[in-house]
């Protein structure tokens, strides 16, 4: 079965056919996760990038994040010296007026601020010289508030463009660092929800509610993660603001067929690409959270329980096959698809997707309730807000919800056996769960 059998031949079907041919050789393979080769590839990138990659000069924190996160997902811990180098380099990108730029001396950017903060979570820790104590939380807050627009969106830098990546990165950073305020959150829900398209997936942005662009895997991941973070901070649920069924349907349809090795495409009628293993494959953990909220409204019925015997809505096993057999480059690093060069971006999102399809990451609502109950109110009031009571409640629920994502230890589906196992990654922040928990406890002083 191929994707198109209508007897109509266009640029789309030609490109699709090429990919199907390219993927043919990978069809019946059973490659192992080549940890060693990828580790070598990643440590080499950290040492320095060849001249061909100088276009990434404004993405230094991203390079660090992709490499560090990949290493940790592979289960390779960082040596002290690399950690120290990461922390020093990141601090060189931090600006006195708040936030992190794409390199030393570059103006702050919401996306590189996300990459920097997540890298700090991975490489840093409490105590002098370990980074966490020295992150300028107040500065980052003031930067994010300067980027915040009336309609709930964020410009990505001073004078820069707007899209939902900005909303996601701003919220993820603010959630981890405990700098969420009602002012920061105002209208973000409306802005993000207005990016849902008629297809079900989300697009890049909207302008006064007029949604621009088509449904796209990357923007969908950002939107759904942002909505999940927003939802957990409030008592009235957001599930009526967007069409969950349409989103689910669209996401499920983005998974490629058997001859595409079950990889994900990012848009309808586009080609599969390894990075969507995370952007879409990784989103399925979040659906369960929303389905729970949904079920409260519906008549509960055993038959209608949304998970079937294998507890997932996409083909996990097939997706793992795409990552292992199509996306791995023989000399290390992972890629979009065979024939493309590997890079740290594709390495990170292929591995994150692999991890998400091996582990069952569940939102444990009992744990969330417990954590919320035991939450110690200790706000030092260093984040300026007019609405202190609301902030207190937001802190408590943001913390307990972010902490509630846990891998179900009993349930794993690891293609190729235990030697291919990766570390579980947090479905919202995309850093390993153990690092996420440690950082959350630290920044919320719990």
């Amino acid at each position: 079965m191929t994707a198109y059998d209508d007897g109509v031949y266009t640029a789309t079907t030609a490109a699709q056919r090429d990919v199907e041919i390219t993927l043919e050789f990978a069809l019946n393979q059973d490659k192992e996760l080549d940890r060693l080769a990828h580790a070598k590839y990643l440590t080499e990138s950290l040492r320095g990038l060849p001249s061909s990659l100088k276009v990434l000069d404004a993405s230094r924190p991203w390079l660090i994040y992709w490499s560090l996160h990949s290493l940790l997902t592979l289960g390779i811990s960082l040596d002290q010296s690399s950690k120290a180098r990461a922390i020093n380099t990141l601090f060189k990108c931090m600006n006195p007026s708040g936030g992190f730029g794409g390199g030393p001396g570059q103006i702050s950017h919401v996306l590189t601020t996300y990459a920097s903060v997540m890298s700090f979570v991975i490489a840093g820790g409490p105590g002098q010289g370990n980074g966490w104590d020295d992150i300028d939380r107040k500065g980052i807050y003031s930067f994010l508030m300067r980027m915040k627009q009336q309609d709930g969106s964020f410009i990505v830098h001073e004078g820069g463009e707007v899209d939902v990546r900005g909303c996601y990165c701003a919220l993820a950073v603010a959630t981890v660092l405990d700098i969420l305020t009602p002012e920061l959150l105002d209208n973000v829900d409306t802005f993000v929800a207005s990016c849902q398209t008629y297809e079900g997936g989300f697009s890049a942005c909207n302008n006064g509610g007029l949604q621009f662009g088509e449904a796209h895997g990357g923007y969908t991941s950002c939107s759904l993660s942002a909505l999940t973070m927003l939802d957990s901070t409030r008592s009235s649920k957001l599930n009526t603001m967007f069409d969950l069924d349409a989103l689910l349907r669209w996401s499920v349809h983005m998974q490629g067929l058997e001859n595409e090795l079950g990889g994900f495409r990012g848009r309808t009628n586009k080609l599969v690409d390894g990075c969507y293993s995370w952007w879409l494959g990784g989103s399925f953990s979040l659906f369960e959270y929303w389905q729970q909220a949904h079920d409260i409204n519906c008549e509960d019925s055993e038959e209608a329980n949304w998970v079937d015997e294998e507890s997932c809505l996409y083909d996990r096993e097939a997706l793992q096959g795409y990552v292992l057999n199509a996306a791995q480059n023989a000399k290390g690093g992972l890629r979009d698809k065979p024939g493309k060069n590997p890079d740290t971006y594709h390495t990170a999102y292929n591995l994150s997707g692999l991890s998400a399809s091996q582990h069952y990451i569940k939102y444990d609502s009992d744990r969330a309730r417990q954590l919320a109950m035991n939450f110690v109110h200790n706000d030092d009031n260093d984040i300026p807000t007019e609405r202190t009571l609301e902030r207190a409640s937001i802190r408590r629920f943001a913390y307990s919800s972010a902490m509630a994502w846990m891998p179900d230890k009993a349930a794993k589906s690891v293609r190729g056996g235990g030697s291919n196992i990766t570390n579980p990654t947090h479905p919202i922040f995309n850093i390993t769960i153990s690092k996420s928990l440690a950082a959350l406890k630290y920044f919320y002083c719990q």
Partner: protein
């Protein structure tokens, strides 16, 4: 072509000798450093166009840029320097932003800037910055008293490029020509770059249509639908075009047709390519936007015919989206036949077996 262009290093240039280049402060043993070369390997202007992507933001230009920023210098030579760097790395958002402030503060010729963007948007099609900068330029031109401002008549640049706002004030009546030329540029770009699915380009086009919506006229709208139709004819699977059609009809509200006629239109396209998810999704969106369920008599009949016709021939499977429509419509109606359809889908489309199986459970419970 580039008056400031020189094969000399900025550090050695006479016209920059009053500035002391500032090297990047990386700190000791940085992580993931970019290996700058002191000078680009290809500085021959003849090759700039074709090799720009492979060129590197060389240390020399960046060092001088830091010196310019440090001196807070807004000048023509600083403008030239920013262009030089952008050509080497179009993702350098700090440099783009500085360029904008130079243009605004000096009241420079926006029309010339837009012309430069014609070239750079083609070259750096996938750069967020190039499209954003183009928006800023168009916003400035559309709100200045002389829309096609020339050097002699500097644009009014008071509010439009204020860094904190993402959208400029409404365009002047007189900027219709500008809108039309932008639409033409984007349309040609799809062909010139052979990339009619480029995300940035579509978002930009939709911004143009939104921004100038009030001053565009029926003939412009008519042209837009002709443009859409020609792209669908080129490639019926191009989801970006379907998405754009939806945008024009239901987001901008350019209703040039009735719901019935639009359903007919989509069904005719599905008839050509029954497996095309783009048109099926569009049909779902169309009905939903009109607050209608999936149980549209014509669509049901159409889907049934498709399923039957394909099932009748031995080697053909019924198109998944047609069967899915029947299943979802039945589920919507709480018709038990939905289960049967979902189980059939589970057989036909095993990658999504868990999803179909879940849907069949929902149907059973309904």
């Amino acid at each position: 072509m580039f008056p400031w262009f020189s094969t000399m290093l900025y550090a050695e240039r006479d016209d920059f000798k009053d500035l002391q280049p500032i090297p990047q402060d990386e700190g000791p043993s940085p992580l993931a450093p970019i290996n700058y070369s002191p000078k680009c390997e290809c500085r021959d202007p003849c090759f700039v166009g074709s090799l720009a992507l492979k060129m590197t933001p060389d240390k020399d230009a960046m060092d001088m840029f830091r010196a310019v920023v440090h001196a807070n210098e807004k000048s023509e030579r600083a403008l030239g320097l920013t262009e030089d760097i952008i050509r080497m790395n179009a993702g350098h958002y700090t440099v783009w932003h500085y360029r904008t402030t130079i243009i605004v503060e000096l009241g420079l010729d926006i029309q010339a800037e837009l012309k430069l963007m014609d070239e750079l948007s083609t070259e750096f099609l996938k750069s967020y910055q190039v499209w954003h900068h183009r928006r800023l330029c168009v916003g400035l031109l559309a709100t200045s008293t002389s829309p096609f401002a020339s050097k002699d008549a500097p644009a009014a640049v008071t509010i439009a490029a204020s860094p904190e706002t993402s959208s400029p004030p409404p365009p002047l009546e007189s900027s219709k020509e500008l809108a039309q030329s932008e639409l033409k540029f984007v349309a040609e770009l799809f062909y010139a770059t052979d990339d009619p699915k480029n995300y940035h380009t579509w978002v930009y086009r939709q911004w143009i249509l939104t921004y100038f919506d009030k001053i565009l006229q029926d003939e412009d709208r008519h042209l837009e639908f002709e443009f859409i139709e020609s792209l669908i004819k080129d490639d019926i699977y191009n989801n970006s075009v379907w998405s754009h059609r939806f945008f024009c009809l239901f987001k901008l509200g350019w209703l040039q047709t009735t719901l019935e006629a639009e359903i007919e239109y989509v069904l005719s396209k599905i008839g050509i390519a029954p497996s095309n998810m783009s048109s099926w999704n569009y049909l779902r969106g169309l009905l939903k936007a009109n607050r209608r369920g999936l149980n549209d008599e014509r669509v049901l009949q159409f889907s049934e015919t498709l399923v039957k016709a394909k099932s009748a021939s031995d080697d053909m499977k019924p198109p998944v989206p047609a069967l899915e429509w029947l299943a979802d419509a039945a589920l919507e109606d709480k018709n038990p036949i939905a289960t049967k359809y979902y189980l059939q889908l589970k057989e036909m489309d095993p990658i999504r077996r868990h999803y179909w199986s879940w849907k069949s459970h929902l149907a059973l419970a309904a």
